[in-house]
């Protein structure tokens, strides 16, 4: 038996301040985030959605094209004094702004001009995740939102999102770069004793491979960054504790595919290990059976229909759909079997891409419909 996720109760609860939508790539996180934020806005909350990389048409629907790195109000969205605001994360600008806020203009200019900063701010694998967290922290700090819905970056693994800030901190804290650029002086005697001559060799090897210039740039960057690093780390820690606060709810999004559900399971385990609040699972793009007629009967009937090709086709496509729905339910029950008590809502697939607010409203309605449906028509038995 699957527990139903009560989406409306979650969105209406004034204590819910942040909803984080996470899941592996390609499962519809961005659309789900936007649909949840819109639904909250139309139920009277002042909501903002932070999207990462929306599809073009969804961005248009949210009026995101003309916007900068700050939220803008979405016209035509909201009811009962609720409002919807939306923004798209500009990773590079968020990073630049963060550097500018944390240090003197001179030093900021030095950092921004460093070639190594270009690499870090655009292609380091955790930057997007880190900047999404930073932006979330900024939005929360303004205190002007009832609800912030965050989409997470399209990483291959849902867990990257939680690990990136830590990885980035380790990278930027300067210990490694000092070791590499001047192993003789940095690192402390204790460390050198452990690693011994190997480290000097290693440092020389790294510099042979990477080239002296890159190391010099990296070293200059980390030195300039050093003064602001304290503030940097403080921010990351603050955001991390924000994620653990009772006002935050994680919504895990998955499509009914083995890989996506496996990632969802890892993520649920991880959230519980970190004591982060999980609201439930959105199983996105399901194919529920709409007519109670078993696949076996439908196929037998299709075989016996003569002179009515349309009816036969309808029966066969129905039988396929029963098989698909069965498979999806089996995959889901494998997940819920291992994670009993995780509330679930199923969102049936929509044939066309979401291009306007009405499309998002439809998805929001389906998200919230788990309670009415209960365990409705999930099996094609009967008749």
């Amino acid at each position: 038996m699957v527990t139903a996720l009560d989406v409306d109760a979650l969105l209406d609860d004034p204590r819910t301040a942040i909803v984080v939508c996470c899941g592996s790539g390609g499962v519809g996180k961005t659309t789900t985030s936007a649909a949840l934020a819109l639904r909250a806005a139309e139920r009277g909350r002042r909501a903002v959605v932070l999207t990462i990389d929306p599809a073009k048409r969804l961005a248009q629907a949210l009026g995101l094209e003309a916007l900068g790195n700050e939220p803008g109000r979405v016209p035509g969205a909201g009811a009962h004094d609720g409002e919807l605001h939306a923004m798209m994360l500009d990773m590079r600008r968020t990073f630049d702004e963060m550097v500018q806020t944390h240090t003197t203009p001179d030093r900021a200019a030095t950092i921004l001009a460093n070639p190594f900063y270009q690499t870090i701010s655009t292609s380091f694998s955790g930057t997007q995740e880190y900047m999404a967290m930073e932006k979330l922290g900024q939005l929360a700090a303004t205190g002007s939102w009832d609800l912030i819905v965050v989409d997470t970056p399209p990483s291959r693994s849902a867990l990257d999102f939680l690990d990136a800030p830590q990885r980035m901190s380790t990278f930027l804290d300067g210990r490694m770069i000092r070791l590499l650029s001047s192993p003789a002086r940095a690192g402390g005697r204790g460390l050198r004793k452990i690693v011994g001559a190997g480290f000097t060799l290693f440092a020389r090897a790294v510099s042979t491979i990477l080239g002296g210039q890159l190391l010099a740039d990296a070293s200059a960057f980390v030195q300039a960054f050093d003064t602001m690093f304290g503030g940097f780390r403080e921010r990351a820690t603050a955001t991390y504790s924000l994620l653990r606060s009772p006002g935050t709810a994680f919504v895990v999004v998955a499509s009914p595919e083995p890989d996506a559900l496996r990632e969802a399971a890892y993520f649920v385990d991880r959230l519980s290990a970190e004591r982060m609040p999980l609201a439930g699972l959105v199983l996105n793009r399901t194919h529920p059976v709409l007519a109670p007629l078993s696949a076996t009967r439908a196929r037998a009937a299709a075989d016996s229909v003569r002179g009515a090709p349309l009816a036969a086709a309808v029966l066969r496509l129905h039988a396929d759909r029963c098989d698909l729905a069965d498979r999806e339910e089996r995959l889901l029950s494998r997940f819920t079997g291992a994670h009993p008590g995780v509330p679930v809502t199923r969102v049936p697939v929509v044939a066309a891409d979401v291009t306007d607010l009405d499309g998002l409203r439809g998805i929001g309605r389906e998200c919230a419909a788990a309670l009415e449906h209960g365990a409705a028509l999930t099996s094609a038995e009967g008749v």
């Binding site: 490694m176 011994g196 890159l214 007519a291 029966l315």
Partner: protein, 342 residues
């Protein structure tokens, strides 16, 4: 199998790189291709580079260590080996080889120094990973025969694959000389030759098709050879063509369906008929969208196209052999004598 099939020129390639948008099933297709090319007594190597252990899950084996292991036998006495390349281990391997780091290597890894070195220069990761793949593809046994008749790489997704393979750019991050630089130069030579081909896996959906077309253009612009387009999870179309357009626009003749069902001896309740009609409309909308996606694919690229069916039961080891058989039927093969006799 429909589609235009596997052109003869691809059989000369020994390095088959498989990419695709996330969620299109590229790991499955890479696995099926490794099995297909190993048929008839060949030996192939299936390589993954993203640390996901996707191959182990696909072949239902314990997680792969950083070493080449036999994971499947192919029909006709062939075998598939697999390798999960670990970038940190690959870097340590180099250090061992050229700098004799000794036990310090492991300590350095524990400290995060190895990871640090590979994140410092994103290009270094790519050079190490592609370098390992190239080394496997070029390796020869004592008789001078290639150890592997083909190497199949489960590559990063379409968004990143060109920068991953275009090692020329990554080399800008690295020193202008030294062992890894030489290695990278060798990788460039192989990847930009007739020995390599990049296959793109797609679904008949809007975004995957767009990314496929874009990626093929980018590959060609970077001097890399696009191989086949593999359309995955193709589902049967039951409705007659002329009914699709009508139904997709919501014009389903419920009366005709009802009378057809009644003629078959099925007297169904109105809500069942309603449900069937809704399902039919959804099916038609999807088929319609798929036909449009296919048209865009055909318009956007002239690469040969292979199709693989949707597997209702999901992919298990048995169905992987079925997919491999379909690829063989479409012509997927590698030019190499069988090893089965020896």
């Amino acid at each position: 199998m429909i589609g235009s099939g596997w052109p003869a020129e691809l059989s000369a390639a020994r390095l088959h790189i498989v990419t695709g948008k996330g969620g299109t099933g590229k790991t499955t297709v890479a696995g099926a291709l490794a099995l297909a090319l190993a048929g008839g007594g060949r030996r192939t190597l299936l390589v993954e580079v993203e640390g996901r252990q996707g191959i182990a899950q696909l072949f239902d084996t314990p997680p792969l260590p950083y070493e080449e292991r036999k994971i499947a036998v192919a029909p006709g006495g062939g075998e598939v080996r697999a390798l999960a390349v670990d970038v940190e281990a690959a870097l340590l391997e180099y250090f061992e080889l050229f700098y004799r780091l000794g036990v310090a290597g492991r300590t350095l890894r524990r400290m995060g120094a190895i990871e640090f070195a590979t994140t410092l220069a994103p290009g270094l990761r790519d050079v190490l990973l592609t370098g390992k793949v190239k080394e496997c593809a070029n390796r020869r046994d004592r008789d001078g025969r290639p150890v592997y008749d083909a190497v199949v790489l489960d590559a990063p997704p379409t968004g990143r694959v060109v920068s991953f393979l275009d090692v020329t750019k990554a080399m800008a991050d690295l020193a202008r000389s030294g062992p890894i630089h030489n290695q990278a130069a060798g990788v460039v030579a192989v990847l930009h030759s007739e020995l390599a081909a990049v296959h793109v896996v797609t679904l008949l959906e809007d975004l995957p098709v767009s990314e496929t077309v874009e990626t093929i253009d980018e590959l060609a612009a970077a001097g890399l050879r696009p191989g086949a387009v593999i359309v995955n999870r193709v589902r049967p179309q039951w409705l007659p063509d002329r009914s699709v357009a009508a139904a997709a626009n919501g014009r389903v003749d419920a009366g005709r369906i009802r009378s057809g069902l009644a003629a078959a001896g099925l007297d169904l309740a109105p809500e069942v008929i309603d449900g069937l009609v809704t399902e039919t409309v959804e099916h038609a909308v999807r088929v319609h969208a798929e036909a449009e996606a296919l048209a865009r694919l055909q318009h956007g690229t002239d690469r040969p196209r292979l199709e693989l069916p949707q597997l209702m039961e999901g992919v298990d080891l048995g169905s992987l052999y079925d997919l491999a058989a379909l690829l063989v039927e479409a012509g997927a093969r590698v030019e190499a004598p069988s090893r089965a006799a020896s």
